[in-house]
Amino acid sequence: MKTNPFLIAFAVLTFAFLIGPLIIIIGTSLSDTTYLTFPPQGISLRWYENIFEISAFRRTMVTSFLLAVGGTALSMLIGIPAAYAMARYRYELPAILGNIYVLPILIPEIVLGFSLMKSVAVGMDFPIMAALLVGHALLVLPYCVRVVGASLNAFDFSIEEAAVSLGCPRWKAFFTVVLPNVRAGIIAGFILAFITSLNDVSISIFLTGPGVSTLPIQLLAHMEQFFDPTIASVSVLLMFVTVGVMAIVERTLGLTFLTK
């Protein structure tokens, strides 16, 4: 095979830009200095220990995790029935409905965050955690609807009718026949949504308040005061959680599913 040297250089550069920051962050997080530096000077795990010594990190980690699980679950509760209805009645329902569910992706997150603050947090006086939960559910809703919807669009609804004809009531057929066959889509949607929620700053920043914060926001706050490698080690930790989650997906479903 003939290779174009320009093409090779371009590919190498692309990968360098993709992987470079990860290497820098990992290196920085291991540095034995009190400031961020690369290449690391001395090797130490003390900044990893530091994460768990700072109570704000511990607290926000729990908050972020609960938000990601709760927000995604809430959005699945809305998203799965919505995706089901849009796939099942795709000829009866107006096509614009599907686009409405993608709006949270199209609207700049800052705007979404601001309007949520005005309406939910201030207007309706929601407690902070509840407002965050609503915000995150809204943020990840497009992923749930789209990914589960892709599975449902590939689902042959005569299978559901077959179950009904065999004596299974429709609500039961939904759980025993429809859901098991779009399981892959639900898992993939859950993971995408989970990661999106876990990494979110723009919406959370408007909805967090006294005593309640999320991990990414705590990272920002920490960096404003200290310039130590803790943020690098938190980043590495988040990275490994994400990689771990992706590895589970890859193992159980194959990553190709996400690109479908």
Partner: protein, 350 residues
């Protein structure tokens, strides 16, 4: 348990579009009736109404003594076989077949026994532990059949069950369907757009068009004695020649064609239904000959069919297709007559 199915005065709409109009249909006990027609004629709608996936605007559906009209689909106890097989992809063949039994609250051991007996009857014993994805099209359809039969439904319904199979398998499967249906004496409704398929396995066939049944009769009658021009055209009476009875001449009726030519039809062979009528024939119902009592024509393009020659003929009533004997090929442009063959012709009221 053998019951009859009766649809009376069924009208159905999709949104504001009327798809069925005042449809009456009666399927006798143990009978297999096909609904035959092109897409959009209402045959699948009829089946979905009986299944309970659609509600009629007016009319009633009765299965034996039971009124199904407002009964939810899952309570109707009808075995359905789908065009796409619609097997449960996440279940094994055995669990697919046992699904209906499970819904009926039958215990696991009994369920397994009955499912396996049925799987054996459709010849899939070695495949009971497989998932549908690992089966061929024909095997999948057998599973679908077993799944519908195992609940011992009083009514079986088929929605184009063979259209995803190749030609050879289609013939084998339809024989199998007929065999199993007859063995159980189950009343059956069969939807298809394939005339050969419908005619070969049905006791009676309903030919449908635009939401109405055009004719419901045995395949033999439909094939030889269509009741109207639609059915005649559907079963291959390609030539439609409008005629007007103008005079009686002894034991024959003299009829005038457009263009003024006169055709004499012996009363012993043809029954003229009304003053204005249509002579419908298959190509083999018009015999091209040098002379005789028939329709004057100029023979056009000749094609070879193996059993006969076929001619595109220009007549005063328009272009028609006629067959001629192999022994005597005519050239294009030959003046000839087309003699109606009574057994391949049909006179319909205009």
């Amino acid at each position: 348990m053998t019951v009859s199915l009766t649809l009376s005065g069924i009208t159905a709409h999709y949104g504001t579009t009327k798809v069925l109009e005042d449809l009456d249909l009666h399927v006798n006990e143990g009978e297999l009736v096909s609904l035959l027609g092109s897409s959009g004629c209402g045959k699948t709608t009829t089946l979905r109404l009986v299944a309970g996936f659609l509600e009629p605007t007016t009319g009633t559906i009765q299965l034996g003594e039971r009124d199904l009209t407002r009964l939810p689909a899952h309570a109707r106890n009808i075995g359905l076989v789908f065009q796409t097989y619609a097997l449960f992809p996440h279940l094994t063949v055995r669990d697919n077949v046992a699904f209906g039994l499970k819904q009926r609250g039958i215990g696991a051991a009994e369920r397994r026994k009955r499912a396996e007996t049925m799987i054996d009857r459709v010849g899939l014993t070695d495949f009971a532990d497989r998932h549908p994805a690992n089966l061929s099209g024909g095997q999948r359809q057998r599973v679908a059949l077993a799944r519908a039969l195992v609940i011992e439904p009083p009514l079986l319904m088929f929605d184009e069950p063979l259209s995803n199979l190749d030609a050879k398998l289609r013939v084998d499967m339809r024989v199998e369907i007929r065999r199993l249906q007859q063995a159980n004496g189950t009343t059956a409704l069969y939807v298809t757009h394939d005339q050969e398929e419908a005619f070969s396995i049905s006791d009676r066939v309903a030919i449908m068009n635009a939401g109405k049944i055009m004719q419901l009769d045995t395949p033999e009658v439909l094939y030889s004695r269509p009741a109207n021009t639609f059915v005649a055209d559907f079963v291959g009476f390609e030539n439609m020649i409008p005629l007007r009875a103008v005079a009686e001449a002894g034991d024959a009726v003299r009829a005038e064609m457009p263009g003024g030519a006169i055709l004499t039809l012996p009363k012993s062979q043809f029954t003229v239904p009304s003053k204005d009528f249509i002579l419908a024939t298959r190509p083999e119902g018009l015999l091209a000959a040098q002379s005789g009592e028939g329709i004057p024509t100029t023979l056009g393009l000749r094609t070879y069919l193996g059993r006969a020659y076929q001619y595109q003929c220009d007549t005063p009533a328009g272009e028609v297709k006629a067959n001629g004997p192999l022994a005597q090929p005519f050239d294009s442009g030959t003046q000839a007559v087309l003699i109606p063959q009574p057994e391949q012709c049909c006179l319909l009221s205009a």
